[in-house]
């Protein structure tokens, strides 16, 4: 897309996507409730959350399939809130791939170019480029129903990327693939994104996937964004109980117990792997918090041992411990649970 120099400057200064207080209501149901975020140019941005949390609705509003009830959406500084999908410089990879069944693979991939009346020779060249990019150089003349799931997914990607959009949207594209294929595709997707340099907006409910791929993650819950941050931020410093337990697992320390330990009346979270099990009598190292409890369950998993412990205050904790010393604890044993002070994370709730 050609644009005058001033516009180009403006575009380069603006975030790729800007969501400003966007809401989407369906009658009384608030599918998306005042969501606001910005996506930097060239970033891999993931919207993460359980089903019905609003992440897919947000994606659809970026694409233009759904119009917001209120709020503003901008792409590269230009407002697109009410533009139809064909007026936006955004392309989508659908969850069910949505390949046109009556067209060949090549016709599918070149569709966007055909609509824009790009001449045939140029189209053919670019189609082949794309097929090479997704490692499927020879399938041009086949029909979608002759391809496997993984192959279809890559063609859907090619079909979207060929238009060189500013932003590529991916709606849980790996959900239908088996584990091994999914992991392989994750690596390939990341590689393609970095090669092509486009902003990717990815939707998934799989937090591991989000962590593996993203530069930034927005965690959605019931229409609201609970937290936005890098995978590291979200894991080390979750701000709400929901995020603490959706991204990885956490132990939640209620405010009464926290008050006894730290003097502060607030809920805290601690990652299970940051906790350790010690024998009842073992002296605890400095700068650690300590609780006492009874072992309820022990699962030995080779690399580590997983404990379910009940503290004397009645709190149930999960501890993942690599400590050799912890391995001989049994059900019913009284133990100490310790963790470093800096591992205690304060929640904003």
């Amino acid at each position: 897309m050609s644009s005058p120099p001033f516009l180009a400057l403006l575009i380069s200064m603006n975030p790729a996507i800007s969501f400003e207080q966007v809401s989407r209501h369906f009658g009384t149901v608030k599918a998306v409730d005042e969501a606001s975020f910005q996506v930097s140019d060239g970033a891999f941005f993931t919207m993460l959350g359980p089903s019905g949390s609003g992440k897919t609705t947000c994606l659809r509003m970026i694409a233009g399939f759904d119009l917001p009830t209120s709020g503003t959406i901008r792409v590269s500084g230009q407002e697109v809130t009410n533009l139809p999908p064909y007026g936006r410089d955004v392309n989508t990879v659908f969850q069910d791939y949505a390949l046109f069944p009556h067209m060949t693979v090549a016709q599918n991939v070149e569709y966007g170019l055909m609509i824009r009346k790009v001449p045939k020779t140029e189209r053919q060249k670019r189609v082949q480029e794309m097929l090479d990019l997704v490692h499927l150089p020879d399938v041009g003349s086949r029909k979608p129903n002759q391809l496997s799931g993984g192959q279809r997914q890559r063609i859907a990607l090619a079909r979207a990327l060929i238009n060189r959009p500013k932003i590529l949207l991916l709606d849980e594209p790996l959900g239908a693939l088996d584990l091994k294929l999914r992991q392989q595709m994750q690596i390939e997707l990341k590689a393609i994104q970095q090669e092509v340099g486009i902003t990717f907006v990815f939707v998934t409910h799989d937090q591991e996937e989000a962590m593996a791929l993203s530069d930034q993650i927005a965690v959605f819950n019931q229409g609201k964004i609970e937290q936005i941050g890098s995978p590291h931020d979200l894991y080390e410093h979750p701000q709400t109980a929901f995020v603490a337990n959706f991204v990885g697992t956490s132990n939640l320390i209620s405010d009464d117990i926290a008050h006894k330990l730290t003097g502060e009346r607030s809920t805290f979270s601690v990652r299970p792997e940051k906790m350790h099990i010690l024998h009842e009598q073992t002296p605890i190292p400095a700068n650690h918090y300590r609780l006492q409890g009874v072992v309820e369950d022990v699962v030995y998993l080779g690399i580590f041992t997983r404990f379910a412990v009940r503290t004397s205050e009645g709190l149930r904790l999960q501890v993942i411990d690599q400590n050799r010393e912890a391995q001989d604890e049994r059900r019913g044993d009284v133990v100490q649970i310790i963790w470093a002070k800096e591992a205690l994370n304060k929640l904003a709730d």
Binding site: L67, N82, L83, P84, Y86, G87
Partner: protein, 301 residues
């Protein structure tokens, strides 16, 4: 330009709906419902016996005329025929449908399906004509009976009052045969559909609980097949009620509802009476349909 319009429609789904729904709905409302309404109105006008003109004033005169003895006999005749045809079709259709669903192998099932489909697809008037051929006094049916030495039976049948006549092709019995034949596929298909919906496990369970095949049939199969039977009966009843082609080709010339309608609106110029005659089967069908819906027939269609 097109794109601007397209965008307008995208942002205004109501307008798009109006554009899509407008033509077909407009057509149906204006042409079809409008005509039905006009017909209903006509039935409340009446024909002035002296002037021979239709008087456009609201009156029940035409309906009183309709409910006269002569006219009611016509209605009664038609209803009785429709009922007998329905019963006849069920009796003939059921074995075919049942066999096809329960005992036929895959290949046979397909063959039977097409065998039922073929008459459905072929020309209605040709099928009626074929029967006129066959039922003629010198035709194949008489010949068949003669070959079997059963001519006497045929004579006896034709000599019976009401049912009989000069030959099969001008008797009510012949009429009954033809009606049943013509509507048969309409009865077979719904019955077959509802029989197919009965899971095999139900029949096995019934046997497992001690029922003999006949009991299973009576208590499990028949009630579950009933919606299909009722669905099929909607067709046979309604189609017989309104048909005037078949009675004018086969059968003696005593009129049925359809023929009465045709003659009254034609040369007799008594459109109101014809309209009233039409309203009657319509009302009957509405009640029938309501009853059928209760019996679950619409799920079987």
């Amino acid at each position: 330009m097109i794109r601007r319009f397209s965008t307008y429609l995208y942002n205004h789904p109501g307008v798009l709906l109006a554009l899509l729904l407008g033509p077909p709905l407009g057509w149906m409302l204006m042409i079809y419902l409008g005509s039905l309404a006009a017909l209903l109105f006509q039935s409340f006008y009446y024909l002035d016996g002296f002037t021979g003109q239709v008087v456009r004033e609201f009156s029940f005169l035409t309906y009183r005329d309709l409910f006269s003895a002569a006219h009611m006999t016509i209605v009664l005749k038609t209803v009785v025929m429709a009922l007998s045809v329905t019963i006849g079709s069920v009796l003939i259709a059921f074995p075919l449908a049942y066999y096809s669903v329960r005992y036929a192998g895959k290949r046979l099932k397909v063959l039977l399906y097409f065998a039922v489909l073929l008459p459905l697809w072929s020309s209605y008037i040709i099928r009626v004509y074929a029967w006129k051929l066959m039922l003629a006094k010198e035709g194949i049916v008489s010949w068949f009976f003669a070959q079997l030495g059963l001519s006497g039976v045929l004579e006896w049948l034709l000599s019976m009052p009401i049912v009989g006549g000069a030959s099969l092709s001008v008797s009510n019995f012949g009429l009954f045969l033809v009606f049943t034949y013509i509507w048969l596929p309409y009865m077979i298909l719904p019955i077959q559909a509802s029989l197919e919906r009965i899971p095999h496990s139900l029949l096995d369970a019934s046997g497992d609980l001690g029922a003999r095949p006949l009991q299973t049939f009576r208590r499990i199969v028949l009630p579950l097949a009933l919606p299909g039977v009722v669905a099929g009966s909607i067709f046979t009843f309604s189609l017989t009620l309104g048909d005037y082609i078949i009675p004018s080709i086969i059968g003696d010339s005593t009129p049925f509802i359809g023929m009465a309608v045709y003659s009254y609106q034609g040369t007799a110029g008594n459109l109101p009476l014809a309209a009233a005659f039409t309203v009657l089967p319509m009302v009957m069908m509405v009640f029938y349909l309501l009853g059928a819906r209760k019996a679950g027939a619409f799920d079987a269609l």
